[in-house]
């Protein structure tokens, strides 16, 4: 399918954010000057699980510069608890106090807050808060957590099982019985954390004269946060404004109202003085939000050709101690989309989400990250077991164009995706036969090369119908407004929450394309709840499809009124006028010869605002438009990844020799931004597979307490990525946008691991857990003769 001809979409545009960010004139949270603001510092539990016997704040209160020291008891008077009770079968409701009063549940759990004139003094005073704890037995393992006798993390959650969802589709048991072979495989992903380079923080101002709270905070979901904050502070929603400034990354971490921000806001109101908070990096690692730490086991029934007959998935996730986010969210998606690009009708899953005494989870870029590794890894396991070529096995199972639209076992409709095309593209790009020859020759010389594939079908944008079907409260729509000012420039807004993706330019392009003006004439306003329309914010990869889509459609709506006014002015038929780069063009009826009409957008705008009686009948003054857009229940994009590695068996070290990806994400709002997102997602996936690990010991102590312990990939560890663009539009979404931003993580986890396992073939060893460290590789190889 060919791409529609766009003037601004699918074209590279330099980012308008760059000038301010490159020159140090960005405006991040801490750059905002608030005279007289006090600084907060939290006192945190050193224990993973303990009863709070007493908190003595006297010495801290008397310390230099201190204005207040508060605990859970104080906060209980000023705020409500969080009740997280999504009406989803299999999910247990939980309630979270603003600050714990009785029991702390993880190392780093905040128990008190010091407010002082600067952070240095606040930290000094925090050391003087005396907390008497009675340590309790912690549970730090999601297997032991479900065993009888394990410590209970949350009094409302029996057996630490906060969510248990099961489903059977088709007849998997029957097919297991009849199978030629059953192949088992397991996949274990370690605990990680989002690690934005800018940590969490906020600044709260209470206007006592107006009874109004303003919270400055980097947040992916400004309106949702505002709604939440108002409830927690017992204010009306109109008494709260949330303003998100430039944000230094989020990746899913800055997506909930955490306790620290709530405390800061409550204190600003109580003290009638602005209060600000900057989380330091140690706090961010220990107590912001964690993610991943999931385990999947598959049992695949196959025929003698390696064609899948049925699949059973057992999945478990360690969610930590607190739910600031619905606990079943990610697992629901993994289980739902697991089959991805492959044919599967008989499928059963069992997903358990478990609480432990660790920092609670939030989504992290690609919360369903494990999905494609599991699916493609299962196919590789099938290939190994049946001694078939892994590329052949994929071909035999992959959805072909003739199969589409394809309804999966779970009822998902997959259409307008191109997995077999992207797969063949990377197979060709890496010259598969040549690789096998090189691999053979290398082995003869004692060198071990490996090649791994992974094809991703990425769910990017969830429409409201998806949430309804899943029983999740929430909408998938997005809202936009566009105002053409009297001078002809355009202001526009959409309810997204950017955190560095560079929305301003592609969103301006969406408006420009729909309306008929140059993007440079469009200003995009984001992140301020008083200005932006009520939207669902940024998460997953919805911003392009839902946000860009809403703006594009709203711009088309604006264009229709502009052109109707122009046609009336020119006494022409509606069909015979158009606007390009704000110039109204006209053609003689019946001809195709467009000429400048003498009118420009500014003329239309001035008439609409200042001379409305000249408007055509039925048209109201002004040029201000609002639109909401609910995308299809689900939109997918797809990509195939191929990764070549060399393994040094002597030390267990890996080198990524080559990384190729063929991708299809439909219409691109801005190809430059899309490419950057792809780089970033793949980088995060490779970093996770190789280096990252939030490592708790058995007593619940977080051993990865600093950036010297929690490792992320640097420029020397990451390969140069070769991207093959293969974009085909989606026929149902606005402008054919599919979205992307997370699939890169999924593909990286899978292709890298599969490559390592390909390199390990001569040793008969298989890696099934992350991170893939030299130590782990050596452990696998130890004792196996490498000659």
């Amino acid at each position: 399918m060919s791409q529609p001809e766009f003037r601004y979409l699918n074209r590279a545009q330099g980012r308008t954010e760059d000038f301010r960010l490159l020159t140090g004139q960005g405006r991040y949270l801490d750059d905002i000057v608030i005279p007289g603001a006090l600084h907060a510092c939290f006192v945190r539990s050193p224990h993973a699980h303990a009863r709070i016997l007493s908190i003595d704040v006297a010495a801290a209160q008397a310390a230099p510069g201190v204005r207040a020291v508060v605990t859970g008891a104080d906060l209980a008077q000023w705020t409500t608890s969080l009740r997280m009770a999504p009406p989803i079968e299999g999910v247990v409701p939980v309630e979270v106090e603003t600050l714990p009063r009785d029991v702390v549940r993880f190392q780093g759990d905040p128990v008190a807050c010091v407010i002082a004139t600067d952070r240095y003094l606040a930290e000094d005073a925090a050391e003087q808060v005396l907390v008497d704890y009675e340590p309790l037995e912690p549970v730090t393992d999601m297997w032991r957590a479900l065993e009888p006798g394990a410590a209970q993390v949350d009094p409302m959650v029996a057996r630490n099982l906060v969510s248990h969802q099961q489903a059977v589709h088709g007849e998997p048991s029957q097919h297991m019985q009849d199978a030629y072979r059953i192949v088992e495989a397991s996949f274990s992903q370690q605990r990680q954390t989002q690690l934005p380079i800018e940590t969490r923080g906020c600044a709260a101002q209470w206007d006592a004269g107006r009874n109004h709270m303003t919270l400055h905070i980097g947040i992916q979901v400004p309106h949702a946060l505002r709604s939440q904050l108002a409830v927690r502070l017992k204010l009306d929603e109109s008494q709260v404004s949330v303003i998100s400034p430039d944000v230094g990354g989020s990746f899913g971490q800055k997506i909930a109202l955490y306790r620290e921000e709530l405390v800061v806001a409550a204190l600003a109101r109580q003290l009638k003085t602005p209060v600000r908070w900057r989380e330091d990096r140690l706090e961010n690692l220990m107590a912001a939000a964690h993610s991943r730490e999931d385990f999947c086991r598959t049992r695949a029934a196959v025929d003698e050709h390696g064609v899948l007959q049925a699949l059973e998935l057992e999945m478990r996730e360690d969610f930590g101690a607190y739910c600031f986010f619905p606990a079943n969210y990610l697992a629901r998606v993994v289980a739902m989309v697991l089959s991805g690009p492959y044919r599967l009708q008989h499928y059963a899953y069992d997903v358990k989400i478990v609480l432990t005494n660790k920092c609670g989870n939030a989504p992290m870029r690609a919360p369903m990250s494990i999905t494609s590794w599991v699916m493609d890894g299962t196919l590789d396991a099938i290939a190994r077991e049946l001694q078939l070529d892994p590329v052949e096995v994929r071909r035999r199972n992959m959805l072909l164009p003739a199969d589409l639209p394809y309804t999966t076992a779970t009822g998902e409709v997959i259409e307008d995706v191109t997995p077999s095309e992207t797969f063949e593209a990377v197979v060709a790009a890496v010259d598969y036969r040549d690789f096998r020859a090189r691999q053979s020759a290398a082995r003869a010389n004692g060198r071990y090369l490996g090649l791994g594939f992974c094809t991703v079908v990425e769910p990017t944008t969830y429409g409201s119908r998806f949430y309804k079907a899943a029983g999740i409260i929430g909408s998938g729509h997005e809202a936009a407004w566009i105002r053409i000012e009297p001078s002809g420039v355009v202001n526009a807004s959409v309810g997204l929450g950017p955190s560095g993706q560079g929305y301003e330019t592609p969103m301006a392009a969406a408006v420009a394309e729909g309306l008929g003006v140059a993007p440079s004439r469009v200003r995009i306003l984001l992140g301020h709840t008083d200005i932006a329309p009520y939207g669902m914010g940024s998460r997953g990869a919805r911003s392009g499809t839902a946000g860009g889509g809403a703006l594009y459609l709203c711009a088309q709506k604006a264009a229709r009124k502009v052109l109707a006014i122009a046609a009336h002015w020119l006494d022409a038929a509606d069909d015979d006028v158009r606007m390009i780069d704000a110039v109204i063009e006209q053609r003689k009826q019946g001809s195709d010869d467009w000429q400048a009409s003498g009118l420009i957008l500014a003329d239309i705008a001035r008439r609409a605002y200042l001379d409305p009686t000249a408007l055509p009948d039925g048209y109201t003054p002004g040029l201000e438009f609002h639109l909401t857009y609910d995308p299809p229940a689900m939109t997918y994009s797809n990509a195939s990844h191929a990764c070549e590695v060399e393994l040094d068996p002597g030390t267990g070290t890996l080198r990524i020799a080559r990384y190729v990806i063929a991708e299809d994400c439909g219409t691109l709002l801005n190809p430059v931004v899309v490419e950057g997102q792809q780089h970033g997602a793949i980088a995060m996936g490779l970093s996770g597979a190789l280096f990252e690990h939030v490592n708790y010991d058995e007593s619940g102590q977080n051993l990865s307490g600093s950036l010297a312990d929690y490792l992320i990939a640097t420029s020397t560890e990451l390969p140069k990525l070769e991207i093959i663009p293969m974009h085909t539009p989606n026929r149902r979404t606005a402008a054919g946008i599919k979205g992307m931003a997370e699939g890169g993580v999924m593909g990286a986890l899978g292709s890298l691991t599969n490559a390592v396992n390909d390199a390990l073939m001569p040793f008969g060893a298989v890696i099934d857990s992350h991170p893939i460290t030299p130590m782990r590789v050596r452990e696998l190889l130890r004792g196996i003769d490498t000659n």
Partner: protein
């Protein structure tokens, strides 16, 4: 993560610095590059009452060449050591080792003396100093003294410096023309602290090993100089599996501890491979 309060002193001369150390002793810490001490203080793992800033002591920075040694001032920055033509010519093992310390920006501030006194068991400069038989020049208000690097470094992050003393310079023997060197390091990522590091200096007489110095970092509580092993291989001729045999012998000669993430077996395995590679490097360079 803000440091605890301290009194700040910036002496303008070595004598002033020593006088401050004499007065404040255990209540004081000196700060050189700050690349190791800074993080510890920001995390409040170190909370000295007095901080003595050595950055005004320009007389302690610099590389001086004598007939048989390189005298490197304690305040010489890693970057200057790593890029110095003098060091490259006279002590290339040191240049190679220092070039791998941290990252470019870290090396602009970090100092030779600072790294040596920090005494991380896997660090490059302590390893190079021990392997090359460097001499540490120490000063206090009560006088000066010298110590061999291998004696100076006592254990993890521990040296024999008294509270009133500081290192002023480190003397490295110059490598002979017939010497070859090798340096290998294994890190999780580029620029990280070493898991294991190996430094080798070989002198050949034709094809015969005349002198051999092998040091390993990260396998004990301080850098290990494998003297017995070296003696064992002296007099041997260069041959195909010499490097492998030396590597195997090195792995057998050490007794690393198990740590949470890294087993002693792993360190041994890596030590074998790194030693083999370092010896191969050194053999390749020796005699040229």
């Amino acid at each position: 993560m803000k440091p605890a309060a301290f009194d700040y002193h910036r002496p303008g001369s070595l004598a002033d610095a020593l006088s401050l150390l004499e007065s404040f002793a255990d209540d004081a810490k000196v700060i050189a590059g700050g690349q190791s001490l800074g993080p510890m203080m920001n995390m409040r793992l170190a909370q000295p009452q007095h901080l003595i800033d050595l950055n005004g002591l320009t007389e302690l920075a610099g590389i001086r060449e004598t007939a048989d040694a390189l005298v490197i001032g304690a305040m010489t920055r890693h970057h200057d050591v790593a890029t110095s033509a003098i060091v490259r010519a006279a002590c290339p093992l040191l240049a190679d080792a220092v070039a791998t310390v941290g990252h470019y920006a870290i090396r602009q501030r970090g100092t030779l003396g600072g790294s040596l006194v920090h005494a991380d068991p896997a660090a490059q400069i302590p390893l190079a100093a021990v392997t090359l038989g460097a001499t540490v020049e120490i000063a206090g208000a009560r006088g000066t003294r010298e110590a061999q690097a291998a004696d100076f470094i006592e254990s993890v992050m521990t040296t024999d410096l008294a509270a009133h003393e500081m290192v002023t310079a480190v003397r490295f023997p110059k490598s002979g023309v017939a010497q070859g060197h090798g340096f290998e390091i294994m890190t999780r990522r580029h620029g990280d602290f070493a898991i294991v590091a190996c430094a080798v200096a070989i002198e050949l007489d034709g094809d015969i090993i005349r002198a051999l110095r092998i040091g390993l970092g990260g396998v004990s509580d301080k850098p290990v100089l494998l003297e017995q092993l070296a003696a064992q291989f002296c007099g041997e001729a260069r041959h195909a599996d010499l490097a492998q045999r030396i590597g195997a012998a090195a792995a057998a000669a050490i007794d690393p501890e198990d740590s949470a993430e890294i087993s002693s077996t792993f360190r041994r395995e890596v030590a074998l491979v790194l030693t083999r590679r370092a010896v191969e490097q050194a053999l390749g360079r020796a005699g040229h």
